[in-house]
């Protein structure tokens, strides 16, 4: 089929300076369009306009956050850089793991596509992040998904939850990648803006590291993988004026549809290309498709590239040049290959049955030239497209309502009156807590995912961190945990972001791994709202300060803005993923005790303050106000060191961090992990910390963890903690006979009672 277009060439653009262009419909602002005209010295062609509009979008250019995100690169010490092989700016950061191994991981958002079409949105979110990992030269080894949905009982949550969960399972399981964790939160604030974040981690040998640059003049540029269709084309339909006919398929934009089996083939094919050293540079195609790949590869390499766009293999032959440049069709990669390797490259493609087409070559002209049947339709400096986009210092200010919000503490509110105090009341509060949408058992979700496929998963949900083995010989592996608490961050954006890091750091340390790197996905509302911009600025400042203090560098991530409906923004939700190293995954610490642990001592590490503002308990009572728990990074670091050392020296058999739901949730979860009971008393901590039993159970004070210590190790454990000045309290013992959680003098809840409360909720709504 041949298609006739009224091609807007550079020559044509020069001759017709006054043609009206739909820049506003493509999302560009007047000043941005003027800047493009200034850069080019003429009006852009339709194809150039398409490229600039997608590459200068918030999503691709980080124009509202660039000035703030710099802090992640500035607030780093030499010590933090020690193991960092590739930092922010590439497709994903790379951290040295030792023994010649390296690991790369990154978290990204796929929020808005997942609201429009939950299954495909969530599925292609996995696909996109996995390709980022491949393009670093790594083999993907696991994925994770932190999720935020609207109210659990809202009608639309049925559609979104079912779609997102099956999309993640459908794509991830087909790829043969274990899904080792994540979190699920329900809150009406996310009703029209669910958050679907996806994390992937990959492992590579040092020598296999690949970067996205097009080096070597004369090297060939190839596009391979799936064909290009109309997927995810946003505003490109307004460029339809470049087409002569209107017999196009139904109206755009089209939802991106993923094909996990094509992606699996692409993974294996890319790994073979790396192994045989057949590519000089490689880039996955995600948002902004070919526009992004060509301009980034060119500007990171020799500076120029020449591409013939009619050589792109199309699924839909009616696509216009602008649409081809903007298409977000999945499962595509672009690579740079030396002429000598062309034949070998083609042989690999043929072996895997992957379609490819040679598009052009690398030049040193500092121009990205794209032709259509030989006629020049794009002639730009690729740096102006990829890197020199607009940067805004958006105004921000502490919202007027922030003071009133922080003054409205839980204790002073109506919701904070008549708190449970008797044993019976406390017991029903615990059962209510662990049955609540946020604290309930999420295995309805996680059992739809393959968690153990590949045979390298050492820990997965519901443990605190996912742990996966990298080297089968030595047991070397990594632990990853993702965390964020939107309510904390709403109450105090600076502290809330730090608490997100503190929790994920603590979760990784709880598994016994040494935290080494951080990736973040910053989910916020509109940066054009000065309240939201303040939350964002404070969040980035808080997170970067905390990373410096904990000594873990941010290696990459993603910013998702405009998560709001009307002028109602979501709670600021900086999801933080911490990656830790584990010398031998066989030594990981699970987050519950087994029957063999009968009689082991249960210790609470850390102190408990009266910190209920923003807590799950306050949430149960419908209250959100006051100040989030205090953050004490020095205490987090000390706690982390204890957990790591105790795990390495065999001093703890189980460990679980205290976070949402406090001690009540942690105790219940440890009992439920393997259905083994415990006997504990709260008197000592109540007396020591000056709190009542309710506060002891439900406060969300930070830098705390519960551990099970074998009797033979108690002396050593106490010596170590007192030597380090860490406060611990012996709460009680693991009791494998009782089949219950007994809080002495207050209540006894049988394992069955706890389980029924904890496991019924998801089934009730989604089963």
């Amino acid at each position: 089929m041949t298609q006739e277009f009224n091609i807007d060439t550079v020559e044509n653009a020069e001759g017709t300076p006054d043609v009206e262009l739909p820049w506003a419909e493509l999302g560009l602002k007047q000043n941005e369009f003027d800047e493009i005209v200034k850069i080019l010295g003429r009006r852009p062609t339709a194809a150039e306009l398409a490229m600039y509009s997608v590459m200068w979008s918030e999503h691709c250019s980080y124009k509202s956050t660039k000035n703030h995100l710099r802090q992640f690169g500035q607030k780093v010490t030499e010590e933090m850089k020690k193991d960092l092989m590739v930092g922010i700016g590439e497709n994903a950061g790379v951290t040295d793991l030792g023994d010649g191994w390296a690991v790369t991981f990154k978290i990204e958002s796929h929020n808005s596509p997942s609201f429009v079409e939950p299954y495909q949105g969530a599925a292609t979110g996995i696909g996109g992040i996995v390709r980022d990992i491949i393009s670093m030269g790594a083999r993907p080894i696991a994925v994770m998904d932190p999720l935020r949905f609207g109210a659990i009982d809202h009608e639309d949550s049925q559609r979104v939850v079912h779609g997102v969960v099956s999309g993640i399972g459908g794509y991830g399981n087909s790829l043969g990648l274990p899904n080792i964790g994540g979190e699920t939160v329900f809150d009406p604030i996310y009703q029209g803006n669910p958050l679907v974040n996806a994390l992937a981690v990959g492992a590579l040998r040092h020598e296999d590291l690949r970067l996205a640059n097009a080096s070597g003049v004369g090297n060939k540029v190839v596009l391979f993988g799936a064909r290009t269709g109309g997927d995810g084309i946003g505003g490109a339909s307004v460029l339809a004026s470049e087409s002569f006919d209107d017999t196009k398929p139904s109206k755009r934009p089209a939802v991106q549809v993923g094909d996990p089996f094509s992606e699996k083939v692409l993974i294996e094919c890319c790994l073979e290309l790396f192994k045989s050293s057949l590519v000089e540079g490689i880039q996955d195609l995600g948002a902004a498709g070919i526009s992004c790949a060509t301009s980034e590869l060119a500007s990171n390499g020799e500076g120029g590239m020449q591409v013939e766009l009619t050589d792109v293999l199309l699924r839909d032959p009616t696509l216009t040049p602008g649409e081809i440049l903007m298409s977000e069709s999945q499962e595509r990669m672009m690579a740079v290959v030396t002429p000598a390797n062309v034949a070998a490259f083609e042989a690999v493609m043929d072996k895997y049955g992957v379609e490819y087409s040679w598009l052009g070559e690398v030049t040193d002209t500092n121009r990205l030239i794209i032709t259509w049947k030989g006629e020049v339709i794009v002639d730009v400096d690729p740096k102006t497209v990829a890197h020199d986009g607009p940067v805004y210092d958006r105004p921000y200010a502490r919202p007027e309502w922030q003071d009133a919000l922080q003054a409205d503490t839980f204790r002073s509110s109506a919701a904070g009156a008549n708190l449970p105090s008797t044993g019976e009341e406390l017991k029903s509060a615990v059962l209510e807590l662990i049955a609540s949408p946020n604290m309930c058992d999420k295995s309805w979700i996680t059992r739809q995912y393959d968690r153990y496929v590949g045979g390298n998963t050492a820990l997965a949900a519901p443990d605190d961190a996912g742990v996966v083995r990298v080297d089968e010989e030595t047991g070397l592996g990594v632990a990853i945990a993702t965390d964020a608490n939107g309510r904390y961050t709403y109450l105090d954006p600076y502290v809330g972001a730090q608490l997100a890091l503190a929790e994920s750091y603590r979760n990784v340390a709880t598994s016994g791994a040494i935290p080494a790197a951080v990736s973040d996905c910053l989910n916020y509302g509109s940066p054009e709202d000065s309240d939201v911009m303040w939350q964002l600025a404070e969040g980035i400042r808080g997170l970067s300060d905390a990373c410096m203090e904990l000594g873990v560098p941010v290696t990459g991530g993603n910013v998702s803005l405009y998560n709001q409906t009307g002028d109602k923004a979501i709670h600021p939700t900086p999801v933080v993923a911490t990656l830790g190293k584990l010398d031998d995954v066989a030594r990981r610490t699970p987050s519950g005790w087994r029957p063999e642990a009968d009689g082991q001592a249960i210790y609470l590490i850390g102190t408990t303050k009266d910190e209920l503002d923003g807590s799950e308990f306050a949430n149960l009572r419908g209250h959100l106000g006051g100040l989030p728990p205090q953050v004490d990074l020095a205490a987090e670091k000390a706690l982390g060191a204890i957990l790591i050392n105790a795990s390495r020296d065999g001093m703890v058999d189980a460990a679980h961090d205290l976070s949402e739901g406090g001690l009540a949730a942690a105790l219940s979860e440890m009992v439920l992990r393997y259905g083994v009971g415990a006997r504990v008393a709260l008197d000592e901590i109540c007396q020591r910390d000056g709190i009542d039993a309710f506060t002891a159970l439900f406060s969300e004070s930070q830098a705390r963890a519960l551990v099970a210590v074998p009797r033979s190790e108690e002396v050593r454990f106490n010596d170590m903690t007192s030597a380090r000045g860490i406060t611990v309290a012996r709460l009680g013992v693991v009791d494998a006979q009782s089949g219950a959680l007994e809080v002495q003098g207050l209540f006894t809840a049988s394992v069955d009672e706890l389980r029924e409360a904890n496991e019924g909720t998801m089934e009730k709504y989604f089963g």
Binding site: Q120, P249, R252
Partner: protein
């Protein structure tokens, strides 16, 4: 018992991975005549008694709102089959 048949197809511009896989398999099995494959879904709604205009209208509405995902699929046919 009469049945109302509803046929649903992915919208033409949406990628159809299953159709693509079938298109790849056909020539391998010697069926060389086919250029492309799109796979769809067929529903059969059985009705006890006569299919009235009202019932048919209900079937059409169900087809548009529940049997198909209007974001990525089109209802291409709704018809009555009387066995």
């Amino acid at each position: 018992m009469p049945r109302i048949v509803v046929d649903v197809m992915l919208k033409p511009e949406i990628l159809d991975p299953q159709g693509k896989a079938i298109a790849g398999a056909l020539p391998r099995l010697g069926f060389n005549a086919f250029e492309a494959v799109r796979q769809g879904k067929r529903f059969e709604l059985s009705v006890d008694g006569e299919v009235t205009e009202e019932i048919l209208a209900q079937a059409r509405e169900a087809a548009e709102t529940m049997l198909s995902n209007p974001v990525i699929e089109d209802v291409v046919n709704v018809e009555v089959i009387d066995d």
